[in-house]
């Protein structure tokens, strides 16, 4: 812009003293083009409105999340929080939808009620870019869960080996309880041949899931964001490993409203809990990090 002002000033100085009307007229045209090229984008960006067509409720730190936004004018959109690559939205060359997908790549876990975008335009001459920061509220909060890290070994209590069942059955199999007639849909591996031979018709085993003891994982995040991110990643890895093994998990975290201890059913809910988690201990005097305790825990 400074260069434009200097060019125009120099041009007029020469034109005015050269005594040529054509030079001055050309300078006026160049001024008009520069003025529109500089002011035009400012007006466009000032009047621009970004609408949100769709947004996910969950995302994973480090992985892209796609948000569909729309605009009536052509804009360059740069996601700031969560960050992401530049993309152009708005009417393009062909007639069609004016919405585009903006990719967000959140770097840290957290909860976003809105996304922050830098919208920019240089229309109509691409001479000057004007940028404006806008906050677009999301229809529902975007939970950015931590990346699933390595699962930490879950410490066992000394009496873990005592019990009626020495070896836990696989979660999808369960413990045999009896036999019943076959109904279409039963797995072939459940056919109990001995009972079949005895009953004279196809019989299958009936199994039941053992009521496993939940594991309580308490996550206390340190103040350092990077360290907290690593702790959360490890916690999520542990939770996921336990859930995949069929072990119910009680997850204890500290949220803005205070300590929260509750079951997590799947990776998504665990990710959301960890996304909302803030630094601080669940209970006073505990060391930072992930702690796990088999057995039932009372809620806070």
């Amino acid at each position: 812009m400074v260069a434009s002002v200097l060019i125009i000033g120099l041009w007029w100085l020469i034109a005015h003293n050269a005594g040529s009307g054509w030079v001055q007229l050309l300078g006026d045209l160049v001024f008009g083009a520069l003025l529109i090229g500089i002011v035009g984008p400012f007006v466009i960006v000032t009047r621009a409105r970004i609408g949100l067509r769709s947004a996910p409720g969950d995302a994973v730190a480090g992985l892209p999340a796609l948000v569909r936004v729309e605009s009536r004018s052509r804009l360059r959109v740069r996601p700031v929080e969560p960050p992401g690559p530049d993309v152009f939205v708005g009417p393009g060359g062909r007639r069609g939808p004016v919405d585009e997908i903006v990719t967000l790549v959140p770097t840290h876990r957290g909860v976003h009620e809105s996304i922050t975008l830098d919208i920019a335009s240089a229309a109509p001459f691409a001479l000057q870019w004007w940028t404006k920061r806008v906050h677009v509220p999301l229809p529902s909060a975007l939970h950015v869960s931590p990346h699933c890290g390595w699962a930490q070994p879950v410490p066992r209590r000394p009496d873990d080996g005592t019990g009626d069942v020495h070896e836990q059955p696989r979660a999808e199999e369960g413990l045999p309880r009896g036999a019943r007639p076959y109904v279409p849909g039963d797995a072939r591996r459940l056919v109990h041949w001995r009972s079949t031979a005895h009953a004279g018709r196809l019989m299958v085993r009936e199994v039941e899931q053992p009521a496993a003891e939940p594991v309580t994982i308490t996550v206390e995040l340190p103040m350092d964001p990077d360290a907290a991110e690593r702790v959360a990643e490890g916690a999520l890895g542990s939770v996921v490993r336990l859930l995949e093994g069929g072990t119910p998990v009680l997850l204890g975290t500290r949220e803005r409203s205070g300590p929260v201890l509750g079951p997590v059913a799947d990776r998504r809910s665990a990710g959301r809990r960890l996304a909302r988690a803030v630094a601080g201990g669940v209970a006073d005097g505990k060391a930072r990090g992930v702690g796990s305790t088999p057995g039932r825990h009372a809620g806070p």
């Binding site: 050269a18 005594g19 009307g21 054509w22 001055q24 007229l25 060359g93 229309a123």
Partner: protein, 699 residues
């Protein structure tokens, strides 16, 4: 950030530009600029064509190598540009004609830079430089343009530049194109901004620190050196003297000769004779006459045969009785068609840039060219223009007096004019100053005489002044001004007749005064002791204030608009607007009965503050609208059911039923129940989206 970092950052190569259209637009702008310069003679057409071919080839080469431009190309471009600059400074240093002669080397420099640069234009930034250089080339061309034909190139260049700039945005925005309406808006905004500046800026001035071009045109030699063309009787000269038998002097005007016959007025054409670039308008003086013979004016001291030999600029001697202490005013005269060999100027000429090694200067300031001034001749005069105001003239009490012989000549009369003297005394009875007497006489002439060129020639031997003042009092400028001069002389005030041109019409685009043949004029110069010879025009009031391009352009536009027949234009515009509105309404009208019903539902819901949501089907929306009222009617649900059955099930009702449903949908209103509020909250940013109901039958 250090200077080195700034330079390094500025030299970072940009991303390769892939848009072919952008390159073509920039190429077109450059070609137009080169052609414009060639049309003005700043470079030869063969050179221009060669440059155009090279620029085209360079553009293709740049596009082909945009991703990996060879290093040696950049080196060659740098060497070529440096060589062009070295040549330019050498050429500028060797020219002797002044700064104006830099134009041609500058044109060659810019064209050379554009040619070599075209081979290394990989990125968008480089293309922007190309556009800027083309603008500079156009400016160099415009510096020498003196007519509106250059406007064609300006328009073409502006279109190409606008195209290039919009393509630049298309490329920068990943394919974002400006719509037609947007383009019109941009064009209007740019034009408005340019016009606004044009209206506000003062007219350009000519700096007095530069030298000026002086070019001989197609005039040829004058047979009798020092004589006015036509007076020598040479047939090869530009014109012949005017006399009753032959009125065919230059442009038909009889005054540019050794004598001025006031009994005749030639038939003046509207041909463009001169274009004058000046800082302010003036009477362009050609020559003056001091001897009145009753019918004709003569010069008592003709132009000397001994010329003033010098090289430009000629330093001209101060004419007799002049006080050359006014404002310096520069005028460049562009001769458009053959004219007299008089060198026109404003009041007192001080310096002259002329395309010959000699000029002839008379004692009264008349300058005669030794060569014929044909089309294409250019010369510049630095004149001293009087800045005396009427009040200053009235208060002039300078004891300076003309030499007695000069004063006698300037008060000379061929015979006593008792009636004229009596009339002049009666008119100026209450005036004590020279200026007051002049103004009173001008006022009287304006009130009691009429201007007309269609009068019969005066009888042979008749005195022009007597015939005019005591006859029908109808005459033309020579007769009117002569009457004033004679009345002044009869009162003992030195006065003389001057002939030349009025300033002409001011062209705000070219910043030139257009002087036509019928602008030839005669007026009176009155001598004031402290201020020298001052112009007084009893015939016409000619504005002599510095021009304003904006005001002139507005006045011209106003005049143009006044000539437009408003009624037909308004009728045509109204008809065109009606057609546009009708077409747009027909295009926006729903095509099927189903769409009309859906549109009516949306309109009714919107009025009730319940716009349709993005994800809402028509049936769900209709149910929501029905639920707003208690008891809940089922009108909208029923209509939506029929629409969906038609759109998705192919069950089209009869046409009568279709019409009935459309009418019902149009009539039905959504009335929220009292106290119940509105049911679901409206989505925060749910816009009103058009309904897609598939293909319904047209009604």
């Amino acid at each position: 950030m250090s200077v080195i970092d700034v330079v390094r950052r500025a030299n970072q190569p940009g991303l390769p530009e892939n848009s072919i259209r952008l390159r073509l637009a920039c190429l077109a702008a450059v070609l137009v600029a080169i052609a414009a310069c060639a049309s003005l003679g700043e470079i030869a057409w063969t050179t221009a064509l060669g440059a155009m071919v090279l620029v085209g080839a360079g553009t293709a080469f740049s596009h082909a190598t945009r991703s990996r431009p060879p290093w040696w190309v950049k080196a060659l471009v740098a060497v070529g540009a440096t060589a062009a600059c070295v040549w330019f400074f050498h050429a500028v240093g060797s020219v002797t004609a002044g700064v104006t002669s830099v134009i041609n080397p500058l044109t060659v420099l810019l064209v050379s830079v554009l040619v070599v640069h075209s081979f290394h234009v990989p990125s968008r930034r480089d293309l922007l430089f190309t556009l800027a250089a083309s603008a500079g080339l156009m400016a160099v061309g415009g510096a020498l343009a003196i007519d509106l034909r250059f406007g064609l190139y300006v328009v073409a260049w502006a279109c190409c530049t606008l195209w290039a700039l919009t393509e630049m945005w298309t490329s920068a925005s990943g394919g974002g194109r400006i719509s037609v309406s947007g383009l019109v808006l941009v064009l209007a905004a740019t034009s408005t901004a340019a016009a606004g500046v044009f209206l506000v800026l003062p007219a350009p001035v000519v700096s007095s620190r530069v030298d000026f071009i002086a070019r001989a045109g197609a005039g040829g030699s004058i047979g009798a050196p020092g004589a006015l063309a036509g007076d020598s009787g040479n047939a090869a000269q530009l014109s012949r003297a005017g006399n009753p038998a032959s009125r065919i002097r230059v442009g038909g005007y009889l005054g540019f000769a050794a004598s001025l016959n006031t009994a005749l007025r030639g038939s003046l054409s509207n041909a463009l004779v001169l274009q004058v670039r000046a800082q302010r308008p003036s009477y362009w003086v050609g020559e003056t006459f001091d001897t009145w013979q009753g019918e004709s004016w003569m010069e008592s001291k003709p132009v000397p045969r001994r010329p003033l030999r010098q090289t430009s600029p000629f330093v001209l001697p101060v004419s007799l009785g002049d006080v050359p202490f006014g404002q310096s005013d520069l005028q460049t005269f562009y001769v458009e068609s053959s004219t007299a060999d008089l060198v026109f100027h404003a009041e007192s000429a001080g310096e002259l840039w002329f395309p010959s090694a000699k000029v002839y200067v008379a004692g009264d300031g008349t300058i005669v060219s030794p060569i014929g001034l044909g089309s294409g001749s250019v010369y510049t005069v630095d004149s001293q223009v009087s800045s005396a105001t009427p009040a200053q003239l009235r208060a002039d009490d300078n004891p300076f007096a003309l030499p007695p012989d000069v004063q006698r000549q300037e008060e000379q009369l061929p015979h006593p004019y008792p009636r004229v003297l009596a009339l002049a005394r009666s008119i100026t009875a209450h005036d004590t100053t020279t200026e007051g007497k002049v103004q009173s006489l001008i006022h009287w002439i304006g009130a009691h005489t009429h201007y007309s060129e269609n009068i019969p020639p005066l009888p042979a031997g008749a005195d022009t002044v007597d015939e005019f003042l005591f006859g029908n009092r109808v005459g033309f400028c020579e007769q009117i001004s002569t009457s004033l001069a004679v009345m002044l002389r009869s009162l003992g005030i030195p006065a003389r007749e001057a002939v030349g041109y009025v300033p002409g019409s001011y062209d705000p685009i070219t910043d030139l005064y257009q002087v036509h043949a019928d602008d030839a004029h005669a007026w009176v110069q009155v001598w004031f002791p402290g201020y020298g010879w001052q112009n007084f025009d009893p015939t016409a009031v000619v504005p002599l204030s510095p021009p304003s391009p904006g005001a002139t352009a507005l006045h011209d536009v106003g005049s143009l608009l006044r000539r437009i027949p408003l009624v037909p234009v308004v009728v045509i515009a109204a008809a065109a607007g009606l057609v546009v509105v009708t077409v747009r309404w027909r295009r926006s009208r729903p095509a099927t009965w189903a769409e009309r019903v859906a549109r009516s539902a949306e309109r009714a819901g919107r009025r009730a503050g319940q716009p349709r949501r993005h994800s809402e089907t028509l049936a769900a929306y209709a149910a929501r609208l029905d639920g707003l009222a208690r008891p809940a009617p089922s009108t909208w649900s029923r209509l939506a059911s029929s629409v969906e059955a038609s759109a998705y099930g192919g069950h089209d009702p009869p046409r009568s039923a279709q019409r009935a449903m459309v009418d019902e949908a149009r009539r039905t209103r959504v009335r929220p129940r009292v106290g119940g509020g509105r049911d679901a909250p409206v989505a925060r940013d749910a816009p009103d989206v058009p309904v897609s109901v598939g293909s319904g039958a047209r009604d």
